[in-house]
């Protein structure tokens, strides 16, 4: 499918026009060395072919080379991420036809070049060995004709008998797909589409509908907010559109010309990634979200001179924090923002009211072009499940959902499925739900398929195949088209949809082909916003009435939930940054990604506050049995300072049984603990009983010690201090010997600790770029994870209101590197470009460099991690190895490795500049960690060039070097974190 299409490259690639490359190649004479190399390869290859027992595979070179592929040169395709419903713009890097790396698309107005950890890891999911090889019927592999025949026959029967057909899908952000579904509705009167999000936002959705009469969620603009209040909303980690929000948020964390930066209050039960970044983090019981919102509303209303008419809730809330938050909100009204993750409609209405009273509607809360994410509607799902029980559903199509795993009463749903005559799943594997379905028609991976997306109204993006389907799969849309009796060509369908629906609204007066070509090239397309500013939002009488009753309701809840029994606790369920709702569970990169807050890998755990831990006599690692009337779960405890004393937290998305061997048996499934209130699924509940199970289970953490021991490692300063003091030149550390003269460049990094949120996307990006192996839980327990970059998290202050500081730590590429001096065989030396190089071939593995590295960033290959049954992850199967980056060696057993500052990218950039006969320009070269960073916190560049961005950051007032006093002279520098706490 992919081959018969012409592809567009992104700008970067277009710059190196194909002719240049050809001519350059022609100029190059094959040197004796090259000749020998190739001859050697040929000999070795033939020898191997000769002695290999397996089937001899003939490698046939291109006779007629496809014009868009150049061996050894990456080809880039613009696409759209399918990891969640945020639909971030992507550029997919393919080598020799294989997607090997995902990068953010800088053209995207939303994600703007950033991606998240799970987005980065989706390229590995493409090569997941657990994916179905083709369609199955009753679990037996069959041909597409066969399965189509059976399905169509039954569908015809259903339509004839006017039986209910239901498409149960996750949120669909693809307008074309939505159009296709609409077509089904039109054709089949008994057809219904139910949207189901495992982690639901339906309360916010309903509240938004009630207040602003729009079908969607507000599009929040953190980049316009000077004061941000988050109530149990992890908007930097998992809430709605983390990449976009991180990007916006980070922009306001850097003091602008006027020395203004945003101040962030976070009210939450568990310590979230967002909470660790807040200037003021206030632990609250999970049940107090409404009370907090109401308390803020009352204060804001008083300022605004509006009557709330709601009584105060006498919950144990930190009045001071609420007061100063409300004060800041009011001071920056119009440029402030309150968001809440509550699943209580009334609370969400109250939050909307606060924003309305503050005049944030239209500025930080955009309802003109609402977000189309999270369309799940809990009520219609509940209704569907009931109907299934009654046997009223004849046909059920499951698309991008896995309710048999993540529906609270999964057993009930499974029973319901039995009474459905025809169940079809589009799942890519036999997961919990698909294994119960009659037919499984595996969908493409999103990197294999055509698609489009409209996560936020009027900003579109396209997805194009970056590789021909690896397996005998078929796009779900093609299946739907087929069964509708149409030509199963979704590409044509998308094109047609854009021609008919999007082109007419294009303001630039281009032909459709021009528009399409541009959109496909850029990957994104957004209408120019109409210049005419819409009139400012005026709260209608209905709206006022609505929020006032909501306020009453919230007050009522507050009173009822107040004063729980002494030995009853509250439970709070959350998503982790990596695994999210469990859909990525079989991805080893994500399983081994340390949680940004706890640094724990491979599994979930029960988070509780130190005070509670003491009361229960529990320590981290002790297994705790957590009971609620209808369910029970046993998990190891993790003691987390800052956790709300009365609330324990558990991560969703673990305990997958049918996701694959990576995910199997990792953690426990917390979805059964999800309750329902007022028709909305609730992710917190009360009446939880805790008791020690009497055994313990070690937690595979990559950082055991979280105190900084009073050492100046992560340095902080306050905004006022920063503005008052002027830059003073720091004395250069004295050296015992003269500095060596370097080469033309001196590569370095500058990392802004102020904008870095610790989201850990860089860790996965580095793993993907540099073929970093996955070692598994046991080895992590032995302290042997291989990540080249890690995010150190230090916690200080009181155990109730701790301060968390994060610091990305990778090889510091010291000018005077302690590791280099001690290597007996000179396997690690310094390049003329100022890089600390590790020569794998020369390394004999004495590990002295590891011992002598003050930053402990070196990683040793304790075993052979590739093609080793003991480490049965992606590097142990031929499909999984397709993700490996051919530009980076797979390290052998017994050698040391570490961050190379993406030397392959550096060389690539230098080569490109050379071909174009120009010096390397600042910004030409981006390391993987820099490219992925949604907060733009990591900057790579040439320290020899005083005008380079990195050099200017290094000259800045906030810049410092970690462990400067040892005299290692690192080329990696850090910018101090700024605390913007209110003096109140």
């Amino acid at each position: 499918m992919a081959n018969d299409l012409t592809f567009w490259k992104n700008r970067v690639h277009v710059e190196t026009s194909r002719e240049d490359l050809e001519t350059n190649r022609a100029d190059l004479e094959t040197s004796r060395r090259d000749f020998l190399t190739r001859m050697g390869f040929v000999l070795a290859a033939s020898a191997l072919a000769g002695c290999s027992r397996g089937a001899v595979q003939k490698a046939i070179p291109f006779l007629i080379k496809p014009e868009e592929t150049m061996p050894g040169v990456a080809t880039w395709y613009a696409s759209t991420c399918g990891a969640c419903s945020a639909g971030c713009g992507l550029l997919v890097k393919t080598r020799d036809g294989r997607p090997i790396k995902i990068e953010g698309n800088t053209e995207s107005p939303l994600s703007g070049g950033g991606t998240c950890a799970s987005g980065q890891a989706t390229v590995l999911s493409l090569y997941d060995a657990e994916r179905l090889k083709g369609p199955t019927w009753l679990g037996v592999p069959v041909t597409w004709q066969d399965v189509d025949a059976r399905i169509e026959e039954r569908l015809r029967a259903a339509m004839a008998g006017r039986h209910n057909l239901v498409l149960l899908s996750g949120t669909i952000v693809s307008p074309s797909t939505r159009a296709l579904i609409a077509e089904w509705k039109a054709r089949v009167p008994t057809f219904r589409h139910v949207v189901y999000d495992a982690v639901s936002f339906s309360a916010l959705r309903r509240a938004t509908g009630a207040c602003f009469a729009i079908d969607g969620l507000p599009h929040y603009r953190f980049d316009r907010a000077t004061t941000i209040v988050g109530i149990e909303a992890d908007f930097l980690g998992t809430w709605l559109s983390p990449v976009e929000f991180t990007r916006q948020y980070a922009r306001r964390r850097r003091p602008d010309a006027a020395g203004v930066m945003s101040r962030h209050y976070q009210f939450e039960a568990g310590v979230s990634l967002t909470g660790t970044n807040a200037d003021h983090r206030v632990p609250i019981a999970a049940s107090q979200q409404g009370a907090v919102a109401l308390a803020i509303l009352r204060r804001v209303a008083i300022e605004a001179g509006v009557e709330t008419g709601a009584a105060e809730v006498d919950g144990a809330i930190d009045e001071g924090a609420v007061a100063s938050a409300a004060e800041d909100l009011w001071r920056h009204r119009g440029a402030s923002l309150v968001v809440s993750g509550s699943q209580d409609t009334a609370t969400q209405i109250v939050v909307h009211a606060i924003n309305a009273l503050l005049g944030n509607i239209g500025t930080t809360v955009d309802i003109e072009s609402p977000s189309l994410q999270k369309q799940g509607d809990d009520r219609s799902l509940a209704q569907l499940v009931d109907e299934m029980q009654r046997g009223d559903i004849h046909g059920l199509m499951l698309y991008g959902v896995n309710p048999a795993y993540d529906f609270p009463d999964a057993a009930r749903f499974a029973r319901g499925m039995e009474s459905v005559a025809l169940t079809i799943s589009f799942a890519d594997r036999l997961d919990e739900t698909a294994s119960l379905a009659h037919a499984v028609c595996p969908d493409h991976h999103f990197l294999e398929a055509w698609n489009d997306a409209e996560a936020v109204t009027a900003s579109f993006s396209l997805a194009q195949p970056a590789i021909a389907p690896l397996l005998d799969t078929r796009a779900a849309q093609d299946s739907l088209l087929k069964w509708l009796g149409k030509e199963p060509d979704f590409y044509a369908y998308v094109r047609e949809f854009w021609r008919t629906h999007i082109h007419p609204t294009d303001a630039r007066g281009r032909t459709f082909d021009e528009l399409w070509d541009h959109a496909l090239h850029d990957g994104v397309y957004y209408r120019d916003v109409p210049a005419a500013k819409t009139p400012p939002f005026r709260p209608s009488r209905a709206f006022t009435a609505a929020w006032q009753s909501a306020a009453h309701e919230v007050a009522g809840q507050g009173r009822s939930s107040a004063a729980p029994a002494a030995d009853r606790y509250e439970l709070h369920l959350y998503e982790t940054v990596a695994i999210r709702d469990g859909r990525h569970a079989n991805n080893p990169w994500l399983q081994e990604l340390p949680d940004p807050v706890t640094k724990i890998t491979w599994g979930n755990y029960l988070v509780l506050a130190p005070s509670l831990a003491r009361r229960l006599g529990v320590e981290s690692g002790d297994v705790v049995r957590m009971g609620v009337p209808d369910a029970q779960i046993e998990l190891p405890a993790y003691v987390q300072p800052g956790q709300s004393p009365g609330t324990v937290s558990i991560a969703l998305g673990y305990g997958r049984q049918h996701a694959g061997k990576v995910a199997y048996g990792v953690g426990a499934n917390a979805f059964p603990l999800v309750t329902s209130f007022d028709g909305e699924r609730q992710y917190h509940r009360g009446g939880v009983v805790l008791q020690k199970a009497g055994r313990s289970e070690p937690l595979a953490t990559t950082q055991a010690h979280h105190s900084m021991e009073g050492r100046p490692i992560v340095r902080t300063t306050t905004l006022s201090a920063l503005l008052s003091e002027e830059t003073e030149a720091r004395p250069e550390a004295a050296s015992l010997w003269a500095d060596r003269e370097g080469g033309p460049h001196r590569w370095g990094l500058a990392i802004d600790l102020n904008s870095c949120t610790g989201c850990s996307a860089c860790v996965t990006a580095c793993q993907a770029e540099n073929n970093v192996p996955v070692v598994g839980r046991d080895e992590v327990l032995r302290g042997r994870e291989m990540h080249w970059i890690r995010i150190d998290a230090y916690t200080g202050g009181s155990e109730d209101h701790p301060e968390t500081l994060v610091q990305p730590m990778m090889c510091q590429h010291c000018q005077n590197a302690p590791c280099e001096t001690v290597c007996p065989v000179a396997a690690t030396t310094h390049s003329s470009d100022g890089l600390n190089q590790q020569v794998y071939n020369r390394c004999i593995g004495t590990r002295y460099c590891e011992n002598n590295c003050p930053y402990k960033v070196r990683r040793f290959n304790w075993f052979r991690y590739a093609q080793n049954e003991a480490f049965d992850f992606n590097m142990n199967n031929p499909v999984g190895r397709m993700v490996l980056n051919p530009d980076v060696t797979v390290r052998s057993r017994g050698v040391m490795e570490k961050c190379s500052m993406c030397i392959q990218r550096v060389q690539d950039g230098k080569l490109l500049a050379k071909q174009e006969g120009r010096p390397v320009a600042d910004g030409d070269i981006k390391t993987a960690c820099q490219q992925v960073c949604p907060a733009d916190s990591i900057v790579f560049g040439d320290l020899n060039d005083p005008e380079s961005r990195v050099a200017r950051m290094r000259a800045g007032q906030r810049h410092y070097l970690v462990l400067d006093e040892i005299g290692t002279k690192p080329n990696v520098g850090y910018l101090m974190k700024i605390k913007n706490r209110s003096e109140a």
Binding site: S735, W737, A738, D739, R740, C814, Q815, N816, A817, P818, C819, E820, T821, C823, A826, T829, H830, S831, S832, K969
Partner: protein, 178 residues
């Protein structure tokens, strides 16, 4: 000990006691005779002076070896680190002389020691395949042998008596077995 009837070249006096031996040696030399050699199970004090053995020149071999080791080691280290393969190792200068000292020192000791032993073995003709010229098996155990050349003493009948006077247990003409 096979008796050679035709050319008994040596006059061998056996002693039980190192003091008597030394006395005998002094007496014989006072008489102006050259002592061919003395065989003993262990180094006998004051015997060297008595026999007039000059001080050994082995230390020269040691010195030569040491100098050779030192110079070649330093030269090689400099050649490798400065001339042939200059690398930026930890930002240190190519010529990190201080760091080159330990290896140079070890090689100095090594070659000095080996040179000494080699010189000793060569000078004393010590080698696994060499068949020993032993005057009698007991001299490597508990006996001492004073050996004179027969032709030096042939015309001096006093010698044997002299030897007996100085405590020789037994004096006899014999060829030393090869």
């Amino acid at each position: 000990m096979s008796e050679n009837a035709f050319a008994p070249e040596f006059l061998v006096a056996m002693f039980d006691d190192q003091r008597r031996l030394v006395g005998a040696v002094n007496a014989v030399r006072a008489r102006g005779l050259r002592v061919h050699d003395v065989y003993a199970p262990y180094p006998v004090h004051r015997l060297d002076e008595a026999m007039g053995i000059r001080r050994s020149r082995l230390p020269l071999a040691t010195l030569a070896g040491g100098v050779l080791g030192l110079v070649s080691a330093l030269a090689f280290e400099l050649y490798v680190s400065v001339y042939d393969w200059p690398l930026n190792v930890g930002g240190k200068p190519d010529n990190s002389m201080l760091a080159f000292i330990p290896v140079a020192f070890e090689l100095t000791i090594l070659s000095a020691g080996l040179a000494t032993v080699a010189a000793l073995l060569l000078r004393c003709r010590l080698f696994p395949t060499i068949r020993p010229r032993v005057v009698g098996r007991s001299v490597t155990d508990d006996q001492f042998a004073l050996v004179l050349r027969w032709r030096h003493t042939a015309f001096d009948p006093q010698v044997e008596r002299l030897l007996y006077e100085h405590g020789a247990r037994d004096v006899s003409r014999k060829a030393i077995e090869r």
